[in-house]
């Protein structure tokens, strides 16, 4: 690009053509004031505070939107400029409620700063116009339009970043205001309460509710850390005052670039919830008694130790957690393997993405997201199957919408009319459990139309012929009968995916949580290989991991067959490496998975269980069965931040620190290892998870002594080749993406460049197998389950968050209008939903979202737990249960109960 030379306040500078005067001024150290300007996001020239004098121009120019020109002579601070700025600021202030003494924004308000700088003590424009009333109708933030200066930042962010278009300007002239369409409440608009508008508001017009009165800007310390909710890996700034987290905002992380979703921003007040566990608890009859740490730990060590000596090492099992840090999962599996001598260690990834690990490891040799999140925005086509991205990974949803804005074709396969399905160019509304058929149908079309990437197939893959033979019978017409998707739509989607230069495939639990979960994953790998969409930027097979550290918990070997870094426990060389490092003989037999452990406990062969941060009493299928199994244990230890439904069944409950109270690392879904920083002290006697594990291990006769979580990370690096270069000394705000074998390695944004981890990519011939339980006369509907934007997993955190809970306080079941009519059900009435395993009462939400014959329930709500209904049928390879398909019936309740 050409360079332009200009003079600003007498200083000559050279900048690229097209640069604004405001940006050019920065190069000579001049900061031009502006209220509305946000680089690349809100460049509208609305506030006119940034005006400057340009030689030979009649009027003053808005520097934020005026491009530089050769020879331009600019004055940014002349008397003419200052005088105009003063009057413009005075005008803005004349229509702004100035209650700076009590305003939340005091000290962090640009208008206040400029009023001070320009000496605006008295205003010349007294007005008797009435300022608008304050709107505090939504639970997350306050809209005070009497302070709004109409800079438009919130609108730009809502439209161009969040892609929600919930707000716009309404009215004209002086009566202009920012509002949802028809000036309705935000809750009736498409607003998703991400609060990104709150973050960019330069004045006090938008302020987070839960921070009100909790601290002044200058009293608050910001601690950058990683969000504890989904696997996207957004960085947050926790706002800390006097040892309390009083707010949060998006930090400039490599994935979120400052943005967050509603949970990250407004969903953290669980940290100080009165339900937090503060002392160890020991069972006493039907209840608990408070105990000292010494007492509790001694009891845990003696009970677990006793069971091991009596029934053998494999009589106990360990559930680590995808919510805890890498360091905790590492120590948990080390505790199981080295201290106790069993491979019975697993965690909830079993329930979400074990089929991903199994499937992608088979096809590619590595079971993780192949590409990076930011690459999605540049893909020419995005194919989403089985992921409600905007609700479950909202900040990744932003990238998808950005891709569409940049011209990408969006193809969505989902049994419901989720937000992205509504925004998609092609929506295939297939029946739950028919993913293999649908993908085979698309691949059949791609091969028939000769759109497959022959060179890629030839040079990079194997077993193509067997695969081709297999898909040959999946004609669009045949597949249409299975899936309910019109044949021509399948053809259209196949062509769109195959002909895009770069196509990114995104999936999540709609693919994995099936009795054919691994088959589903293998099929996604097949279609990407068939079209050469691997090993370069903006392509790939991209499983979105559900929990903040589910990737890390897998990486750390909280899995019954792998040491950290997917090093097999059955490989003697590997085992001897770890035996040497850990100084113990290690078991060679794969251990029990989460789902198997529950079954073995039910049968009585598993005696002891130590659970950290998991809540199978809500998260696992067929909860009645889970409850019986847990009650059947001799000894159950639960370590958590709340007394969860599972903890209530424990013999010992250990209070732990939450993410804000301990240090360590999380690994996001894009394999990025990021820092978790301790911001405050844990409540009461609660302690860091890793310290608790160390104590238990030591009491079991296997001393663990670490001075910090960093020391644990360095041990991980020394034993885990993919984490080899990820050391405590090196990690900073950018994080590092594995594989990162050495300290001088920059990390790996996308996998399989030039060569798959396993060498050649393996095509798998996969036939469609129907779901384990299909609707019949007795249970005529298909229930599929999932999550909603405002809650997370079993709700133990989000349901203890004021805003989120107030906004979505209860469970619901989505029923199509035709189904509802057949059953005589009206929107909002309580109904009974039953399956072969149990029944729940829940409120009906009549909506056309689900496919014909399908109903949907979120699983967050223990009092109306979807998982009482779900089918525990397991995928034979990954042992993942079929959360996404089971047969149910819906019955009306007697009149009084329904009201």
């Amino acid at each position: 690009m050409a360079l332009v030379t200009l003079t600003i306040d007498g200083k000559e500078t050279q900048v690229e053509e097209g640069t604004s005067i405001l940006e050019a001024a920065k190069t000579v150290g001049i900061e031009i004031p502006s209220l509305c300007y946000l680089k690349d996001i809100n460049e509208t020239g609305k506030c006119r505070v940034c005006v400057v004098e340009v030689e030979k121009s009649n009027t003053l120019m808005a520097s934020c939107v005026t491009p530089v020109a050769n020879g331009m002579v600019v004055g940014t601070n002349t008397e003419r400029v200052r005088s105009a700025r003063r009057t413009v600021l005075e005008l803005i202030l004349s229509n702004h409620r100035t209650d700076c003494l009590t305003c939340e924004k005091n000290g962090d308000c640009k208008l206040q700063d400029y009023a001070y700088e320009y000496g605006l003590e008295e205003l010349r424009f007294p007005s008797d116009r009435v300022l608008p009333e304050l709107d505090d109708t939504n639970p997350f933030f306050i809209r005070d339009l009497s302070k709004c200066i109409l800079c438009g930042r919130c609108i730009s962010v809502c439209s161009d970043i969040q892609g929600q278009d919930a707000i716009a300007l309404i009215g004209r002239g002086f009566d202009t205001k920012v509002a949802p369409a028809w000036d309705k409440p935000l809750e009736e608009s498409p607003c998703v309460f991400c609060g990104n508008c709150v973050q960019v508001c330069p004045v006090g017009a938008l302020t987070p509710k839960y921070s009100v009165g909790k601290g002044r800007f200058w009293e608050i310390e910001k601690v950058e850390t990683t969000c504890p909710y989904c696997g996207t890996g957004c960085l947050l700034d926790l706002h800390v005052k006097n040892g309390k987290v009083v707010g949060a905002s998006g930090a400039d992380g490599p994935v979120n670039e400052g943005w967050t979703c509603v949970k990250g921003r407004f969903g953290l007040d669980f940290i100080h919830h009165p339900d937090r566990l503060t002392v160890p608890l020991i069972r006493e009859g039907d209840g608990f008694k408070e105990a000292s740490w010494d007492e509790a730990l001694e009891l845990v060590a003696s009970k677990l130790g006793g069971l091991v000596s009596e029934h053998g090492s494999d009589s106990v099992a360990f559930f680590s957690s995808a919510k805890c840090t890498n360091e905790v999962s590492y120590l948990m599996q080390k505790l199981a393997r080295a201290a106790v001598g069993t491979n019975n260690v697993d965690h909830c990834a079993r329930l979400c993405h074990s089929s991903t690990v199994a499937g992608l490891a088979t096809s590619f040799g590595s079971g993780a997201m192949t590409n990076s999140i930011h690459e999605i925005a540049d893909a020419k086509a995005v194919f989403i199957i089985g992921s409600n991205t905007t609700e479950n990974h909202p900040v990744i949803g932003i990238q998808v919408k950005e891709a569409v804005r940049r011209g990408a074709k969006l193809i969505v396969a989902d049994p419901r009319d989720i937000e992205l399905a509504q925004k998609a160019h092609i929506h295939m509304k297939h029946l739950p459990g028919t993913d293999v058929a649908l993908l085979n149908g698309m691949m059949n079309v791609i091969i028939e139309k000769d759109l497959h990437d022959k060179e890629f197939i030839e040079t990079r893959t194997e077993n193509f012929e067997a695969f081709k033979e297999c898909v040959s019978k999946y004609t669009p017409e045949y597949v249409s009968e299975i899936t309910g998707v019109p044949a021509e739509l399948i053809v259209e989607a196949a062509v769109a995916y195959a002909t895009a230069d770069t196509a990114s495939l995104i999936y999540s639990m709609g693919i994995t949580q099936h009795s054919t979960g691994t088959d589903n994953v293998l099929s996604t790998a097949n279609i990407a290989m068939l079209t050469g969409n691997l090993g370069k930027e903006s392509v790939g097979v991209n499983p979105l991991r559900g929990q903040n550290n589910v990737q890390g918990a897998c990486d750390m070997g909280a899995l019954p067959v792998f040491f950290p870094g997917y090093q097999s426990v059955t490989n003697p060389d590997i085992r001897s490496k770890f035996e040497k490092a850990w100084g113990r003989e290690l078991p060679s037999e794969p251990g029990l998975t989460v789902t198997e452990a529950i079954n073995v406990a039910y049968e009585g062969d598993l005696k002891g269980l130590y659970i950290i941060g998991e809540n199978p009493m809500v998260s696992d299928p067929d909860i009645n069965h889970v409850e019986a199994a847990l009650k059947n244990l001799d000894f159950l230890v639960v370590q958590d931040i709340f007394l969860t439904e599972t903890a209530e069944l424990a013999d010992v409950v250990l209070p732990s620190a939450c993410f804000a109270e301990q240090s360590g690392t999380f690994t996001s879904t894009e394999r990025r290892v990021q820092l978790v920083r301790k911001a405050i002290e844990p409540p009461g006697e609660a302690r860091s998870d890793w310290e608790i594990i160390c104590d238990i291990s030591t009491r079991l006769g296997y001393p663990m002594n670490y001075s910090s979580s960093g020391e644990i990370l360095d041990e991980i690096a020394s034993l885990t080749p993919i984490y080899g270069g990820i050391t405590s000394r090196r990690l900073d705000s950018k994080g590092l993406q594995w594989p990162c074998p050495t300290e001088d390695h920059p990390g790996t944004p996308y996998l399989h460049k030039g060569k798959f981890s396993r060498g050649l990519g393996l095509f798998s011939a996969i036939d469609y197998i129907p779901a384990a339980e299909l609707p019949d006369e007795e249970y005529p509907l298909i229930l599929t389950t999932g999550r909603i934007l405002y809650h997370f997993h079993t709700g133990s955190m989000t349901r203890r968050t004021e805003g989120l809970h107030a906004h979505r306080p209860e469970a619901f079941i989505e029923i199509r209008p035709d189904t509802a009519e057949d059953l005589g059900i009206v929107d909002g009435e309580m109904v009974q939903v039953s399956s072969r395993r149990g029944k729940v009462e829940v409120r009906a939400k009549v909506t056309s979202w689900p496919a014909p014959g399908v109903v949907f329930m979120p699983f967050h709500f223990a009092e109306a737990a979807a998982n009482i209904l779900t089918n525990p049928a397991l995928d034979p390879k990954a042992k993942i249960p079929e959360f996404k398909v089971c047969a149910v019936r819906i019955d009306r309740l007697p009149l009084e109960a329904a009201l």
Partner: protein, 536 residues
Amino acid sequence: MQFYRSHVLICAGTPCILKGCGAVRDAFITELKNQGLEEEVRVVETGCLGPCDLGPVIVIYPEGTLYEKVKISDVPKIVDEHLLKGRIVRDLISEGSIPGIIPYKEPVYFGIQERIVLRNCGIIDPSSIEEYIARDGYQALAKCLTEMKPSEVIEIVKQSGLVGRGGAAFPTGLKWSFTANTKDDQKYMICNADEGEPGTFKDRLILEGDPHSIIEAMTIAGYAVGATRGFVYIRGEYGLSIDRINQGIQQAESMGLLGDNIFGSGFSFKLEVKKGAGAYVCGEETALIESMEGNRGEPRVKPPYPGTHGFLGKPTVVNNVETLANVPQIILNGADWYRGYGTPKCPGTKVFTMTGDINNKGLIEVPMGITLREIIYEIGGGIPEGREFKMAQTGGTSGGCLSGEMLDVPMDYFTLPEKGSALGSGALLIMDDSHCIVDIAESFMRFFVRESCGKCAPCRVGTVRLHEIVKKVACGDGTYEDLEILEDLGRTMRETSLCGLGQSAPVPIMTMLRYFKDEFMAHIEEKRCPSETCKL
């Protein structure tokens, strides 16, 4: 084509329609039938003739007799006397009854005028493409497409010195060259007919009276800049303009003068109408484009200009109706011919719409550089009821207010700005000495409060504050300091507002403070209105 011995031209401009010309037309048709003259005399509805105050107006050819304020009851007499017996009905031509109005053929009202833009208005039937063609219509287009390169077309327009008649006076040829020089697979030509300036109705009357001149000019412009699609953005209230343009488009298309491969030249141009929804700011070209794209009608920041980044981000020429109406004549007669009108610096003519305290209200076309005095006293017939001239506002509500000492200033795009005013759209509001300046200022500011789009702070808040302060002065509560605030606020709005609306909103007040400060001071110091007409 049938020939008639006489034509009855009935002015069907909107003012005459409002005054009942439709009924007069029907009466003529019926009466001619009764007299058995329907094969000999043709009744034609034409565009505006100009003297809007005198409607319904008709002209009978070949004599060229103008009848004013024609009633249905006058029709039998006109048919019987004039059309059957060949005797002009003297008592219906109001000769001498209204000062300054003289029978049609006599020179003063029309004599001083030079009709380029309005050459067909009132002469032809605007619903007939044949009549337009008979007056050399589409010859300029034929010349361009068959004899000239696009660059030559632009060169002639540049040479002619034609500048934008919407008010900004940007050289038209230069504007075209920006778009012509920008490479793109799609370019657009837009005719700005969102005539929102109060007191301005010239574009409406051109569209109603001579729609094909705009269609032809747009096609020429399209050819010159490489645009293949055009839009006429007409304010939604202009129902007749919309009908006439739509009808014209159909006619031109059916004759191959618009559409694919015009004159076999390989050049194609499609034209359609977009209706505006009544926002004043949408007359600003970028707000107009936003509105066309379906967005909120708000101006864009410039640069980039529409010439390179316009409708849907594509290079787009936006020209005012009157500007375009000049184009075919310039092509046919050449740049030198055009420069023969007006002043050397500002050639051509200007269409004005005269309103207010003036005897002859309506539409006129005069050479650039004519003085205000000539317009008011010679064409306009002076101030009614013997009152004194007090103030003329040129250029519409956003224009400056000139006092009597400015009567001899030449009216063109370069001289008026020196006096703090502008020629603008050509609206001329004349006020006699019975009006209170402060009162008028208050009403002007009320207009801007209503029409500010709200995008930029100085205009959104500034218009309200200006209005509040002027109102305070008008109510006798003003202070000298208020006048200083008005000056400062006005200057800031001029210097910092995003678009022309906010930049020119303070112009009336600023010129009033310059030329009529005494009246403000009387309101402040003596709590008295010198004109003794305001509420004070």
